[in-house]
């Protein structure tokens, strides 16, 4: 098992990492068996229906791609073959890393632990700011994938004493793999979490949620215009997904990547926080994280610290209990503060946890319940 100390040493401090891309603060792992390039294996997909003339309609996400024979949907990883739909990424991750759980970020879920993080190629969005575009915007053939069936993922995660996390690209597009792996993880006593854009249909989301312990959703903006213009997606289905997750009882945290001039206006932040409080509750943690110029947005400057601080202030003024800043190690807003006694119950810097003052889910100082999964 890789200890937390070993991990930090391997990472070179971890806390110095700024971006949340695949490699920042991660230990690159290369288990599994390398497959020849250009040869993704096809496995039967779920969540689709047949249409006339060998077409199919995918039901995995709100795009509901109508896919011709021999074609793929928007995600690029699900293919119609003679009127049957297949996933080309089941068991074939192209990124396998050991991360601090704080990198996801999940701050109320096993702090200080490690996340055995896997991703396949493909995504059902195309965010102009994507930090992992090299895999999320690729087809399986373009990614250096390996064959790693669910049992192997769980075995490796267990060896590292980590939870399994589906992350980096968009787990919704490899949902069958997520479901099978999360089921295997639960059977083996290993926890499973997901980092997603939340652009999924209710039925498949409910299916995977049965087997998950925590989900972090990127709430990328709070206007339809933003989602359409910047992500080739829609806001409304994401909000529905958030309610589905909350109703499932699976632990939920939100991240809002603040992009200067795009989604960081006071009105948008305030509206978002009001919606979160009203529909999800004040205890859902919200992270405001710093944007780093990437992909199609290399011409936009990183988020000023002042913006993150201001967003956090707005969220707290709107009554959210757990509001964080992210991707700026040392900036105020990384630690968990007990809403009752105002003392720091989890002290963090970057991806590092320095102190934990929560016992049996309660603040050590005042006994207040701190929502989350702490052990």
């Amino acid at each position: 098992m890789l200890s937390r100390r070993d991990f930090v040493l391997t990472c070179g401090g971890g806390g110095c990492a700024l971006a949340a891309g695949v490699s920042a603060g991660s230990v690159l792992l290369a288990p599994g068996r390398a497959l020849a390039k250009n040869a993704p294996r096809a496995f039967p997909a779920r969540f689709w229906k047949k249409l006339p003339q060998k077409r199919i309609e995918c039901g995995l996400c709100p795009k509901h791609c109508k896919v011709e024979d021999r074609e793929r949907g928007f995600c690029g990883v699900r293919e119609n073959r003679d009127g049957e739909y297949f996933t080309l990424v089941w068991g074939q991750p192209c990124a396998i890393h050991l991360d601090p759980i704080e990198k996801k970020p999940l701050f109320h879920f096993l702090p200080g632990s490690s996340a055995f993080s896997i991703a396949t190629a493909g995504c059902n969005l195309e965010c102009k700011c994507c930090q992992n575009w090299d895999i999320s915007q690729s087809k399986p053939e373009d990614a250096d994938f390996r064959f790693m069936p669910p049992d192997e993922v769980v075995r490796q995660a267990k060896d590292y004493g980590a939870c399994v996390t589906f992350t980096y690209s968009e787990p919704i597009v490899f949902l069958e793999y997520c479901i099978d792996t999360a089921m295997a993880a639960r059977k083996a006593g290993v926890r499973a979490s997901m980092v997603t854009g939340g652009s999924g249909e209710a039925e498949p989301m409910q299916e995977v949620l049965k087997h998950l312990d925590a989900v972090k959703v990127d709430l990328k903006g709070f206007t339809e215009d933003y989602y359409q213009r910047m992500c080739k997606g829609k806001l409304e289905p994401v909000l529905k997904t958030l309610e589905v997750i909350r109703a499932s009882g699976v632990w939920l945290e939100l991240v809002h990547l603040c992009i200067p001039g795009q989604n960081d206006s006071e009105a948008e932040i305030r509206n978002m926080c009001r919606w979160v409080k009203g529909h999800l509750g004040a205890d859902v943690p919200v992270h405001f994280t710093r944007f780093h110029p990437e992909y199609q947005m290399k011409n936009v400057a990183p988020t000023p610290n002042a913006t993150l601080i201001r967003c956090r202030e707005i969220a707290m003024a709107e009554g959210l209990h757990f509001v964080y800043t992210g991707n700026v190690p040392g900036l105020d807003g990384e630690s968990t503060i007990c809403p009752l006694c105002n003392k720091a119950v989890v002290v963090r810097r970057g991806f590092e946890m320095d102190e934990l003052h929560i016992k049996n889910g309660r603040c050590e100082f005042c006994g207040n319940t701190i929502p989350g999964i702490w052990s």
């Binding site: 390039k37 109508k66 928007f74 195309e126 373009d142 080739k232 992009i259 795009q262 199609q296 400057a301």
Partner: protein, 353 residues
């Protein structure tokens, strides 16, 4: 706070586009093989020094429609002799030259590496006819473009194979390779609405491209022809099929590395797919026995759209616009300066052979 990312992207894109057009128009001997003091028109023909470019900025772009009454297709096989005749007639008419060799010399130079961008994704029934590419390859061979300097390409090797294209050299003929095998450039090409990695066949293995699309109705873009065929030059066409592929088709074709290599379009309309495309559906292929020739991708698609709508009308199928599938990307392409989408602004020559 930074400025508007989109408008900034658009500015950079248009600057690059303008720069590329200038570079191509004035590239002189630095283009292609660079063996002679020749120049290219903005897109398409290679023109010998002293001759007018075809078309010039003030001339209408020319589209040649060659048709035959011969029974060209048997199942999905096509008559090679008839195709050769059509090819020769079309090339001569398009170029205004006296013979095929002189005509081809307008578009490709001896020793250049020529990409044959076929549409191979729908299998043998609805891909660019192998016989057409074989015959073109033979003509290129006679114009000192050896088979080893000809590469037929599209997205996947498996698609090429399924469409009847071998991945091995066809005797002394051309090679066939999928982008999945050749790979894509690491560097992203930025467009206003998206970003892509380009096929290494396009960027590194060919000097110019003969665009060989198939005319088909398309359930997402309305129609697929020469412009959409260039989706096969990028790694992520799956991201660009939303909103009737508009403005994505136009923006991809405006990418300088793609645009500058377009030399010639020969559209396979032997048996267009008139409905429920782009995959092949039994009964949806309409024998038309047509080949279209052009250097203006927008113009040839505009003419092809008229043909497609006519064929649909004969079957009492509704106009594409009524289905919400008007190929609006044609007008967008025209606005980006890629060619002419106004039918009245196109010179159409129809030949019967």
């Amino acid at each position: 706070m930074a400025g508007d990312a989109n408008s900034s992207d658009r500015r950079r894109f248009l600057q690059a586009l303008g720069g590329a057009a200038l570079a191509v128009a004035g590239c002189g001997s630095s283009c292609g093989s660079g063996r002679s003091a020749e120049r290219r028109s903005d897109v398409g023909a290679v023109v010998a020094k002293g001759e007018p470019a075809h078309p010039t900025a003030t001339e209408k772009p020319r589209v040649v429609v060659v048709r035959t009454k011969k029974s060209l297709t048997q199942g999905y096989d096509a008559d090679r002799g008839a195709l050769r005749t059509m090819l020769e007639a079309g090339l001569v008419a398009l170029s205004g030259q006296k013979n095929t060799a002189a005509a081809l010399a307008r578009y490709v130079r001896p020793g250049e590496r020529v990409g044959l961008k076929i549409n191979g994704l729908a299998g043998r029934n609805a891909a660019t006819h192998v016989e057409l590419v074989d015959e073109l390859s033979a003509l290129l061979g006679k114009s000192d473009i050896d088979g080893e300097h000809q590469i037929a390409f599209d997205r996947f090797t498996s698609d090429l194979t399924a469409s009847g294209y071998s991945s091995k050299p066809r005797g002394r003929g051309y090679r066939c390779v999928g982008n999945d095998e050749a790979g894509h450039e690491e560097e992203l090409v930025q467009m206003p609405s998206s970003a892509s990695r380009l096929s290494r066949v396009l960027t590194a293995q060919v000097d110019g491209v003969v665009n060989l699309p198939v005319l088909k109705q398309h359930m997402l873009s309305g129609m697929t022809g020469a412009l959409k065929n260039n989706f096969g030059c990028i790694h992520n066409p799956n991201k660009m099929h939303i909103d009737n592929c508009d403005p994505y088709i136009a923006e991809v074709n405006a990418v300088p590395q793609i645009r500058s290599k377009q030399r010639l379009v020969i559209m396979d309309a032997l048996r267009p797919v008139v409905d429920n495309g782009p995959s092949y559906q039994p009964g949806m292929g309409e024998v038309a026995n047509l080949l279209l020739f052009a250097t203006d991708l927008v113009a040839v698609d505009t003419v092809a759209l008229g043909i497609l709508e006519d064929l649909r009308g004969q079957r009492e199928l509704p106009p594409l616009a009524k289905l919400g599938l008007a190929p609006t990307y044609l007008a967008t392409s025209s606005k980006l300066g890629l060619g002419v989408s106004d039918r009245a602004g196109i010179e159409v020559i129809t030949l019967d052979v």
